[in-house]
C-alpha cells in the first residue's frame, strides 16, 4: 500500500504517452490548416539522404506537431493559461475585454521616408492630382483602452509625420479624426486587423469630398449582414476565442449605377467577373476576401456611370472594402497592389486617369518596402 501513489503515477503517465500518439497516428490528416492559413507538413520519407541532411528529423518534428490530436484545442488552452498569468500580449496582439489590437512597434523611418519621397516623385513626374489617405488601424484608434503602461506607439504621430512630409502637390486625406470621433460605432473588426465596411464608409465620406464629389448618405444604402461569424487574423494569431466574432456587411445602393465588370489580373491571367463581391469567401475562414477577392496585382472595375472620371488606386487590403463605395462616382477604377506588381507602367498609363489615390493603413505603410517602387 505504501507506494500506491507512485504506481498510479506510472500507470497514468503510460496511458497519456501511449494514447495521445495512438489517436494522432490513426486520426485523419488534413493537408491544409485554414486557421493558420498554411499547408501542413506531409509525412516525411526516410532515406539515407534525408537522414544525413536532417530533413527527415526536421520534417518529423513538424509532422508530429502539425497533426497532433486536438492541436488547436491545446494551443487555445495555452493562450488561456497565459492570460491567467497576467499577460495581455500574445504573439504581438493585445487582448482587451472587447477586442484584439495589434502592438504598434517603433517604425523604421528610413522605410517611411523612402515611400514618401517615392510618392512625391510620382506626383511631380505625372500631371495628375495625387491624393494620399493613411488609415489608422484599430490599434491607433483604441490604444487608450489598453491597460495603463502598455507599450504602444502613438499612431496619430506617425500619420502626422507622413502627411507633413508630403509634397505640396499631394493632397492629404485625413480620416483619423472622423474615425476617432466615431469610435463607439462598429468601425473596426474585433478579431481582424481590417476596418469594417462602416469604417470604410466614414473614410469614404471624407475622401470623396476631397476628390470633388458629394458623398452618398448612409441612409441610402441597403445593408446586408452577409456573415456574422467572421474570425479574422488576430484570432488566427492568438486563437483567443472569448471575443465576439465579427460581421461582414455588404452595402448596396439600389438607385445607383451598377458595376459592369470587375477584371482581376493575378499576374498570370485576367479573369472577368460581374460583381465586386466574392461571396464564396463567406463560406470559408478568410471572409474579408469577400471584398474584391484576395489581394491581386491588378483589379479593374468598370461601371455604367456616364462620366469620363477614372481613378487609379494604389492600396493595401484596407482598400478592398473601401473601393466599393467609389463605384457610384467613377466610370473606371483601377486598383494596383504594389506588393505584387513590379512596375506599375506595365499595367497602366497614368495620364489616362483623372485622379490617383494612395490608400494604405498606417502599419502597412510603415513596413512595406514595395511602395518605393512607384518612383521609377
Amino acid at each position: 500500500m505504501k507506494n500506491k501513489q507512485k504506481r498510479i503515477s506510472t500507470l497514468i503517465f503510460f496511458i497519456i504517452i501511449i494514447i495521445l500518439p495512438l489517436i494522432t497516428t490513426f486520426s485523419k490528416k488534413k493537408s491544409f490548416s485554414e486557421t493558420e492559413n498554411r499547408p501542413l507538413q506531409e509525412k516525411p520519407s526516410l532515406s539515407i539522404e534525408s537522414w544525413f541532411d536532417k530533413s527527415f528529423m526536421n520534417q518529423s518534428e513538424s509532422y508530429v506537431a502539425d497533426h497532433f490530436t486536438g492541436r488547436i484545442k491545446w494551443i487555445s488552452s495555452k493562450i488561456n493559461m497565459e492570460l491567467m498569468l497576467g499577460k495581455t500580449n500574445l504573439n504581438d496582439v493585445y487582448i482587451t475585454d472587447s477586442r484584439m489590437l495589434e502592438k504598434i512597434t517603433q517604425p523604421d523611418y528610413s522605410v517611411i521616408d523612402k515611400s514618401i519621397s517615392a510618392i512625391n516623385d510620382f506626383a511631380n513626374s505625372n500631371n495628375v492630382p495625387v491624393f494620399v489617405m493613411m488609415s489608422p488601424t484599430s490599434a491607433g484608434i483604441y490604444s487608450e483602452t489598453l491597460p495603463e503602461n502598455t507599450p504602444q506607439i502613438n499612431q496619430r504621430e506617425i500619420i502626422n509625420y507622413i502627411y507633413k512630409n508630403l509634397d505640396t502637390k499631394v493632397s492629404a486625406v485625413d480620416v483619423y479624426d472622423l474615425l476617432y470621433a466615431m469610435k463607439d460605432d462598429y468601425i473596426y473588426y474585433r478579431t481582424d486587423h481590417h476596418w469594417t465596411s462602416l469604417g470604410a464608409y466614414y473614410a469614404y465620406s471624407v475622401a470623396i469630398q476631397k476628390l470633388g464629389f458629394t458623398s452618398i448618405a448612409y441612409s441610402k444604402y441597403n445593408i446586408e449582414h452577409a456573415s456574422n461569424n467572421f474570425l479574422g487574423t488576430y484570432y488566427s494569431k492568438t486563437l483567443y476565442d472569448k471575443i465576439q466574432s465579427d460581421t461582414i456587411d455588404i452595402y448596396s445602393y439600389n438607385d445607383g449605377d451598377t458595376v459592369v465588370s470587375c477584371t482581376v489580373d493575378n499576374g498570370i491571367e485576367k479573369k472577368e467577373y460581374n460583381d465586386i463581391y466574392f461571396r464564396d469567401f463567406l463560406k470559408g475562414k478568410d471572409k474579408y476576401s469577400t471584398y474584391l477577392g484576395t489581394n491581386q496585382p491588378e483589379v479593374v472595375i468598370k461601371t455604367n456611370l456616364e462620366s469620363d472620371k477614372k481613378i487609379l488606386i494604389f492600396k493595401d487590403s484596407y482598400g478592398n472594402s473601401f473601393i466599393p463605395f467609389l463605384t457610384q462616382h467613377y466610370n473606371q477604377i483601377t486598383v494596383l497592389d504594389m506588393r505584387y506588381v513590379k512596375d506599375y507602367k506595365e499595367y497602366v498609363n497614368v495620364s489616362d486617369y483623372s485622379q490617383v489615390l494612395f490608400l494604405y493603413n498606417s502599419t502597412t505603410f510603415c513596413e512595406d518596402e514595395n511602395i518605393k517602387k512607384i518612383a521609377y
Partner: protein, 467 residues
C-alpha cells in the same frame, strides 16, 4: 532530440520504454544502446562518429590499462586516451577561439574554421574520461564488454546535457539493475517536475529576457535591467535543473540512479556554498580530476590559490570558448578565494538573510557576463542595473504586471519551499485523506499543461499573403 519535444515525449519515449520492458534482460542493454544512438543521431547524424570513436578509444584504453602490469604503459595509455578525447573537444570547441586570439595578438590572418559544435561533446567527453582515469586509479573495474561500455556513454537520459554521470556512479547498474512500478513512478515524478520547470517556467520567463536583452541598454531603466537579468537567472536555473531532473527521472525508468545536479542553489549563504549546490556533477568532476590531482589544498596557501585559479579558469572555459566565460569563471574563482581568505567567517556571523542576498546578487551579476556576448555590452548592462537612465519607467511597470505571477512561481519553485510542500503531500499515507491523490493529480495537470506549450511552440500562422 530534446526531452521537451512532442517527438521525444510521445513517440521516442513510449516506444523505447515498451520495447525495453518486454525484452529479455540480456537484450536490455542493446536496446538502450540502439535508442541512445538514435537519440543522438537525431540531432547529430554525422558527428555521432566522434562519440563512437571516443568511446572506442576509451574502452580499449581501459582494457590495456587493466591488462598490463607496466606502470609506464598504463600511464602512456591513459595519456593517449585523454589526448584523443580532449583533442576532439579542443578541435571542435576551442580551435576557432584560439585562432582568433593568435590573430589578434600576433596580427596574423589565419582563417577561423567554421566548425559546428557536436551536441553534448563537453558532457560526454568528461563522462568518458572519468572512466579511463578511474580505471588507471584503480577506483573502478575494467569494463570488458564493449556493448556495455558504449551503452554507458550513449545512455540517452544523460547524454547531451548532464548530469555528468561518472562511470563510477553507474558501474554496477550498467551490468544489472532493478526496475519496478514504484521506481518508475518515482522517475515519472522527476521527469514531470523537470519538464514543467523547463517548459512552463524557463521558457516563459526566458521570453522576458529575450525581449530585454535585445533592447538598447543605454535606454532602459534600472528596474527593467534587473527584471531582465533576474528573468535570465531563473531561466538558466529552471532550464538546466529541469533538464537534469528529466535525466534523473528517465534514468530511474530504466533502473539507473544518477546523481542529483542541483540543490536549491539560489538560497546559498556563500559563493562556495552556491557551487556545492549548482551543477554539482561538474564541480565534483573538476574537484576529482583537476583540483585534487594538482595537490588540492595540501601544499600550502600559494599552491592552493594557484589550483583554485586553474580550476575556475577551466570551469569558465568549459562553458564556452570566449573571453566572457573565462571572465565569469575567474570571477567565481576570485570570490571563492576571497571567502577562503577569511570573508567566510564574517559571512557565517551575518544573519542568513544578508548572506543569502549577498550571494544571490553576486550570482546575478555573474549571469550578466555569462549571457551577454561581449564585455563592453556586459558592462553597459551592468551600468543600466546600477545607474540606469531612470529608476523605473512605464515599460518596467508593464513587464512587472505581465510577469509578476511567473516570478512568484519561480521564486517558490527555486527555493526549498516547494519541495517541503510536496514532501508533505507525498507523505500522506491514508487513502481517505483528501490530499492522497494530490500529487498524482498535479502530475496529470502538469503533463497536460506542458503538452499545450509544446504544441504551441510550433504554432505558426502564416498571415501575410492571403489576408
Amino acid at each position: 532530440m530534446v526531452f521537451s519535444s512532442l517527438t521525444f515525449m510521445y513517440y521516442f519515449l513510449p516506444i523505447v520504454l515498451i520495447t525495453y520492458m518486454i525484452s529479455p534482460p540480456k537484450l536490455k542493454n542493446l536496446i538502450l544502446l540502439v535508442s541512445g544512438l538514435i537519440f543522438y543521431a537525431w540531432g547529430e547524424p554525422v558527428y555521432i562518429i566522434i562519440m563512437i570513436i571516443s568511446s572506442f578509444v576509451d574502452y580499449y584504453a581501459g582494457i590495456i590499462i587493466g591488462k598490463t602490469k607496466s606502470k609506464k604503459r598504463q600511464k602512456r595509455t591513459l595519456i593517449f586516451s585523454m589526448v584523443v578525447d580532449l583533442g576532439f573537444l579542443f578541435f571542435f570547441k576551442y580551435s576557432g577561439f584560439l585562432i582568433r586570439i593568435v590573430n589578434t595578438c600576433l596580427k596574423t590572418d589565419f582563417t577561423e574554421p567554421d566548425l559546428p559544435l557536436p551536441i553534448g561533446i563537453s558532457f560526454y567527453t568528461f563522462q568518458s574520461m572519468s572512466y579511463t582515469i578511474d580505471v588507471y586509479l584503480k577506483k573502478v573495474n575494467v569494463q570488458k564488454n564493449f556493448l556495455n561500455y558504449v551503452t554507458y556513454v550513449s545512455l540517452f537520459p544523460q547524454l547531451v546535457a548532464g548530469p555528468i554521470v561518472r562511470y563510477e556512479d553507474v558501474e554496477n547498474e550498467i551490468n544489472t539493475r532493478k526496475v519496478n512500478a514504484d521506481i518508475v513512478g518515482e522517475g515519472v515524478g522527476y521527469f514531470v517536475k523537470g519538464l514543467s520547470k523547463k517548459v512552463l517556467l524557463a521558457n516563459n520567463i526566458g521570453m522576458l529576457w529575450t525581449e530585454i536583452k535585445a533592447m538598447d541598454y543605454s535606454q532602459i531603466s534600472v528596474v527593467t535591467a534587473w527584471l531582465g537579468i533576474l528573468a535570465f537567472t531563473f531561466q538558466i536555473y529552471f532550464d538546466f535543473s529541469g533538464y537534469s531532473d528529466m535525466a534523473v527521472g528517465l534514468g530511474k525508468m530504466f533502473g539507473f540512479n544518477f546523481p542529483g545536479n542541483f540543490n536549491h542553489p539560489y538560497q546559498s549563504k556563500s559563493i562556495s556554498e552556491f557551487w556545492r549546490r549548482w551543477h554539482i556533477t561538474l564541480g565534483s568532476w573538476f574537484r576529482s580530476y583537476v583540483y585534487i590531482p594538482l595537490g588540492g589544498n595540501r601544499n600550502g596557501k600559494y599552491k592552493t590559490y594557484r589550483n583554485l585559479v586553474i580550476v575556475w579558469f577551466l570551469t569558465g572555459l568549459w562553458h564556452g570558448a570566449s573571453i566572457n566565460f573565462i571572465f565569469w569563471g575567474l570571477f567565481y574563482g576570485a570570490l571563492i578565494i576571497i571567502e577562503r581568505l577569511g570573508f567566510r567567517k564574517i559571512l557565517e556571523k551575518l544573519p542568513p538573510f544578508v548572506s543569502t542576498t549577498y550571494t544571490f546578487i553576486l550570482v546575478v551579476i555573474g549571469w550578466v557576463f555569462f549571457d551577454i556576448a561581449t564585455m563592453p555590452e556586459a558592462i553597459s548592462y551592468l551600468k543600466a542595473m546600477f545607474a540606469g537612465r531612470d529608476f523605473c519607467d512605464s515599460y518596467s511597470l508593464y513587464q512587472i504586471k505581465s510577469y509578476a505571477i511567473i516570478f512568484i512561481l519561480c521564486i517558490f519553485a527555486s527555493t526549498d519551499m516547494w519541495s517541503k510542500f510536496t514532501h508533505k503531500l507525498e507523505n500522506v499515507k491514508k487513502m481517505r485523506n483528501p490530499y492522497y491523490y494530490s500529487i498524482v493529480i498535479t502530475q496529470i495537470i502538469l503533463i497536460l499543461m506542458c503538452t499545450c506549450y509544446l504544441v504551441d511552440a510550433t504554432y505558426n500562422p502564416f498571415l501575410y499573403f492571403r489576408f
